[in-house]
């Protein structure tokens, strides 16, 4: 039982990272129906920006988190402007191929700039383990930081989407882009903001992963990116609570698989989960079925 709870805690930690990344996926997909393949690499860039600002500017955890989120939201907006916007009326496959291209570009530019090897992420917080229930369950203070920051960001996002003008515009555009335009919403700006917010969340996830695992490398975004997408589909892509649900579920499932089965199979299980959900309930756990228009 105590191992189960321990795995659950580790799973929630991992899941919060997935949830943060998949929020960006789901927001972008909800608005322009594009699987932003480069999203996982923005996560990686976020980790590197934090690494640089900690190493060279000697910033602490929160300032470097903010710097990295700011940088990545600009990066996200630039990518949208130069790579995705010209393709808004092209077939979705063209946009997907471009997104794959952007993803490869970020990965390999980072390899050229920073080298292909892994780097040690500086220790920003002194490590401390809390032993609960006579030491049978160990909770790391980094896990607590991770969860607190994640939940805080989610609350802020929820506020932005529900209460602010830009959030209202985002919801309107994702409902019906043309109708929103007719109602006087600037669709291009709204899409830009969506990319900015999504990328900032991915950057935050990148910093937290760097903090948690102490190591970063240019390809670190590939697998988490794909898994966050799986999480978004799992919960119902385009639905913000779905992304959170999917992220936490996937994190927990993965740690349980590596805890009780083999850690080698955890990636395969994630993909199998994706295929299963696509076949059984393509709209995801929280999604409603919508017939494809002819």
């Amino acid at each position: 039982m105590s191992t189960f709870i321990q795995q659950l805690i580790n799973g929630i930690t991992l899941g919060s990272v997935y949830a943060l990344i998949s929020l960006g996926y789901t927001m972008v997909y909800g608005i322009i129906k594009l699987i932003n393949f480069a999203h996982g690499d923005i996560f990686m860039v976020g980790a590197y920006i934090a690494y640089l600002s900690v190493t060279y500017l000697k910033l602490g955890l929160i300032p470097s988190l903010i710097v990295s989120m700011g940088f990545c939201s600009i990066l996200g907006m630039l990518i949208e402007k130069f790579a995705y916007k010209p393709l808004r009326n092209s077939p979705r496959i063209s946009a997907l191929i471009t997104a794959i291209g952007v993803s490869l570009l970020l990965e390999n530019l980072m390899q050229i700039i920073m080298g292909a090897d892994s780097r040690v992420f500086p220790r920003l917080v002194a490590e401390k383990n809390y032993h609960l229930f006579q030491g049978r369950i160990v909770v790391n203070n980094k896990q607590i930081y991770l969860l607190i920051i994640t939940v805080l960001l989610m609350i802020i996002l929820n506020f932005v989407v529900k209460k602010t003008k830009i959030g209202k515009a985002m919801r309107a555009v994702s409902q019906d882009m043309d109708a929103a335009r007719l109602m006087g919403i600037n669709v291009d700006t709204t899409i830009s903001y969506t990319f900015a917010i999504g990328s900032a969340l991915a950057a935050a996830a990148g910093v937290l992963v760097g903090l948690y695992y102490n190591t970063i490398n240019p390809l670190m975004g590939v697998l988490p990116g794909l898994k966050a997408f799986i999480a978004a589909v799992f919960g119902g892509i385009g639905i913000i609570p779905g992304a959170m649900l999917g992220g936490f579920s996937l994190g927990i499932i993965e740690t349980l698989v590596s805890g009780y089965g083999s850690s080698m199979y955890k990636d395969a299980v994630a993909f199998a989960l994706l295929i299963l959900i696509l076949i059984i309930k393509p709209s995801g756990l929280l999604g409603k079925n919508i017939k494809e228009k002819v």
């Binding site: 790579a83 590939v222 794909l226 589909v233 295929i275 393509p282 494809e292």
Partner: protein
């Protein structure tokens, strides 16, 4: 029609003889020969992926998985105590990949567009993870010392055969049905085309040739490991297909040749190569989404003036 066949056969034989001659007199050394092999491998892979992605319009990102199946089949069967003849293993590898294509294709091909892309990507990765976890297959370190079973002639014959078979499929009624599905799936279904059948068929045939390419890869390079067949390998093949033109077989062949030469020149700088590849993908999609050739084909018979070709 017969004349056209004659021209093509003559061209292929002359090409074969010239390259063989160049090898005999040593102008083509081992290094160039190696790249020649890679070019032919990429031709098979790109042409077979183009049948799925370009002709049938079903976006697949798991081609490397099928290649892995072929590669491992050959590696296992030729290193047994009583080794199976190499060319038989190529056939078995291809068929095995084809069966996997059927198993994967049936459920997955109900999905469309980008969901299909992600699902096939997932299957490609699942195949790789499973191979990696089977100790008999060497785990992550792979299989080495696979006996060399194929030479230049074998390579050439298999490549030509693959291209000819796929071209014939495209020009048959099967191919027409596949193109109809690409153009408009719902309309094709309304016209009485069994879309599931043709989509799965295209997927299986593509998988077969990817398996064949994997088999000859193990039979010529002698060493394989699961990481060679990861997601990035699938992207490599995709870049070739997209550059050449989704739907153009001659485009795939030309871009396989060009990109293999480019990547051979850049082999000391893998990151630069990938930056180039990613820029190719982005720029092509922004300025010429149909690829360099679009769906057009270069016809040899049009390049060589011969009488009686106008109606061909």
């Amino acid at each position: 029609m017969k004349k056209r066949l004659l021209v093509y056969s003559a061209f292929i034989i002359v090409l074969y003889l010239i390259i063989t001659l160049l090898m005999k007199i040593g102008i083509i050394d081992d290094y160039i020969k190696l790249n020649l092999f890679l070019i032919m491998l990429n031709i098979i892979l790109a042409v077979s992926l183009n049948l799925i992605n370009g002709i049938t319009g079903q976006f697949s990102l798991g081609h490397a998985g099928f290649m892995a199946i072929g590669a491992y089949t050959t590696a296992v069967l030729t290193t047994l105590e009583k080794p199976v003849p190499f060319y038989l293993t190529v056939l078995i590898g291809g068929l095995f990949a084809m069966i996997c294509g059927l198993i994967i294709g049936l459920p997955v091909l109900r999905l469309r567009g980008d969901y299909l892309a992600i699902a096939t990507l997932g299957f490609g990765e699942i195949i790789r993870v499973i191979i990696q976890n089977i100790d008999y297959l060497g785990g992550a370190s792979g299989i080495s010392d696979i006996p060399q079973g194929i030479d230049w002639t074998g390579y050439f014959v298999i490549t030509v055969l693959s291209v000819v078979v796929i071209l014939n499929i495209i020009n048959s009624s099967f191919g027409r049905a596949m193109i109809a599905i690409r153009e408009d799936e719902i309309a094709a279904e309304a016209m009485g085309i069994n879309t599931t059948l043709y989509k799965v068929l295209a997927f299986m045939i593509g998988a077969f040739f990817a398996g064949v390419a994997g088999s000859i890869y193990s039979g010529s390079f002698g060493f394989i490991q699961p990481d060679m067949f990861n997601f990035f390998k699938s992207i490599d093949i995709l870049v070739i297909v997209v550059l050449g033109g989704l739907g153009s077989i001659s485009g795939s062949i030309i871009s396989a040749i060009v990109l293999t030469i480019i990547s051979a020149l850049l082999q000391d700088y893998p990151a630069v190569r990938m930056v180039l590849y990613s820029l190719i993908l982005i720029i092509i999609m922004l300025f010429r989404p149909q690829g360099l050739m679009g769906t057009k084909e270069i016809r040899l018979s049009k390049l060589i003036p011969i009488g009686g070709e106008k109606n061909a």
